[in-house]
Assembly symmetry: C2
Homo-oligomer: 400 residues x 2
């Protein structure tokens, strides 16, 4: 199936899971306002970010959005799509006011004006829209307007519920994430093959991004794709554990570690991978560093199974680093959940995590060794947890 069919068709498994969670928490309606959640439930990935979905426990859901995105919105399995008035060349619009009005009427029409409404109250950290330039959030003014316009409604912060449901991928989502990571592999390959002494980090970034766009758009039906390749070499690679990664004008030198953090957003679903290679032939010490990271990743993969503690997976990988003398060179947790956002809170592969790994979770496994004399390396793959093992969704070469 092509990716847009997978994304936009009704995902019965997902709908069922969501309704069970709503029932347990006595939530009658979920209001999704963030791009990632609108995508999650409807399959409609907003470019601009002004969109929402009313998802009731009983009855059919409704999308509210702008006319400009009609083509995208009407691909969704949700057939009731309502539009707000946008500005024309002659009149100014009030899309937010219109949205509140539609929500109010919708609740009244369905006799839900005294219902409990779940909202994304603590989701201040969220994925960008397809444009990646400006964002719409669910903020304070919409929240205040909801309270004012729905005085009898019980507002419930449903953030935890949403993250919990999102953490267990449906069969359809697993298929989507496999396609996304086929594209990621194209980027890892482009990086490996373009690596060359004398090139600047920024040149390599531009080349990888170009190749991913050119090969990715059109692949299995992909229409929208955002790609970010950050290249850090030599000493810069020692900084690659930080939250920002910047390619500079530094040239690649013989013997350098060159690390690429590759982040893709393909039709709304994310991939987050890293490869490190050496310019020229690695020396013995460098080989030992790679072997150690690889062994840490492999031991973690083998230990993954339904029911195991996420903290135990992290410990098993860290044990390898300790045993081989690299304990001071790992600075961060082993991994994080991923899906419609690049960092999802469940599961946290962290020593202090209380999450349990379940089948059909998808997360990163990313041992890193930073700050020794050669800089830093990281090997990061997307991993699907199966009943008895972890399966890497990225197949591209992980060595030196």
């Amino acid at each position: 199936m092509n990716i847009l069919e997978l994304v936009t068709k009704k995902d019965e498994e997902k709908v069922k899971k969501l309704k069970e969670a709503m029932e347990k928490r006595s939530i009658d309606v979920l209001l999704f306002r963030l791009v990632e959640d609108v995508l999650y439930i409807s399959g409609y990935w907003s470019s601009f970010g002004f969109c929402s979905v009313l998802f009731p426990l009983d009855g059919e859901p409704t999308i509210i959005t702008i006319e400009d995105e009609k083509d995208f919105a009407e691909r969704s399995w949700i057939k009731d799509v309502r539009y707000v008035n946008l500005e024309t060349k002659e009149k100014l619009g009030d899309p937010k006011g219109d949205m509140i009005k539609i929500i109010k009427e919708w609740m009244k029409d369905r006799n839900l004006h005294k219902a409990s409404l779940g909202y994304e109250g603590s989701m201040e950290f969220f994925s960008t829209n397809a444009m990646s330039r400006e964002n719409w959030s669910f903020g304070i003014s919409t929240y205040e307007a909801l309270k004012k316009n729905l005085p009898e409604v019980k507002l419930i912060d449903a953030t935890d519920l949403i993250y919990e449901v999102r953490s267990l991928k449906s069969e359809r989502e697993v298929e989507i994430m496999k396609i996304v990571n086929e594209v990621a592999d194209m980027g890892l390959e482009a990086f490996h093959k373009s690596l060359e002494e004398g090139k600047r980090e920024i040149d390599l970034q531009a080349e990888v991004e170009k190749e991913v766009m050119e090969r990715g758009i059109g692949y299995k039906g992909i229409e929208r794709l955002v790609v970010f390749a950050m290249i850090m070499s030599g000493k810069n690679s020692a900084q690659a554990y930080k939250m920002y990664n910047v390619s500079t004008i530094k040239k690649l030198e013989k013997g350098d570690f060159v690390l690429m953090e590759l982040n893709l957003n393909v039709e709304g679903y994310w991939s987050d991978t890293t490869r490190t290679y050496v310019v020229g032939k690695p020396n013995k010490e460098q080989e030992d560093i790679f072997d150690t990271a690889l062994e840490a990743q492999e031991r973690a993969l083998e230990a993954i199974r339904d029911g195991v503690r996420a903290s135990d997976i992290n410990s098993i990988a860290f044990e390898v680093l300790k045993k081989r003398g690299y304990w001071n060179y790992i600075t961060h947790r082993l991994g994080h959940g991923i899906g419609v956002n690049m960092h999802e809170p469940i599961p946290a592969l962290h020593l202090a995590s209380n999450h349990i790994i379940r089948s059909n979770m998808i997360f990163s496994v990313e041992p890193g060794i930073y700050g020794h004399k050669y800089g830093g390396i990281r090997i990061e793959d997307m991993v699907l947890s199966l009943k008895n093992k972890g399966e890497r969704l990225n197949k591209y070469y992980r060595g030196a």
Copy 2:
């Protein structure tokens, strides 16, 4: 001066303007939580997006951020930088809780625990951070935590104040925007020169983005730059008035209009430009379309002066389109403000706008003609309003 010096040094003009506005509204402290406002006041452009600035009417301001961004934050003229505890490999962190604690103590230490605090209450639409992948907003849960932790503080939604102050650029900001648009011109040139029958839209996008990255990083000290080039040709170009623009795998054909929307974020400041060219030689009708758009843009530029109504500028440009028979082919307003976000509300160059153009505003002037048999064209430049005219910040060729 290089761009980072311009961005990070204290901008006395800006600080004065902001304090005058605060005084008028009786705001003792402004809390900036969004990346664009933190950049605006401190010159520190966050990669990750978790950052804030406490800006008091009296006394020195304070930055609160994460240790990972120390290098960026400590370039700011604001010398008091405080850090929240992030997660380590062994402990989970609580950056939001830490931030609230720091704010609370800061207010108490300065005897401001009963002060009025301005916040970004209605800014649900905002610029992305330097990473462009995930965002932090100022959301409902932080707002509720502030109310709880600062029970005696008077919270004031300062959105209007912030947008008003931001609309008048300081001399330093004008310099910054000039550099940003020198980079934009590199992109417009790359587009024009790479245009070729048989290439796919997506190939052209990848080529332009590559060239902008390669030439832009390092130019006048630029370290961080995000570039988005959307190419729409032939029939696709007729859709270019919509809020999303997607390059497809369609190949450029002889006689096609090819439209590029180019959006740059350079060290936190935006440029938003558009060029349209014809593959091969334009015919008479096509030339007439270009002439019309150019004339509309030129008439608007000449009419710009300190004190004129934004709506009048829009009317003057639209008169040209009407007179030359293209009234039904323009679908949107003439332009929008720009700066630390790509779309800023002031000034709105719209027929229904009540804004007055003042010297040192920067905005787009972007007449477009869409939906005729050749598709659509738009010519969009960044314009600085001077006392007696509008000055285009983009110099690259605008013809067919």
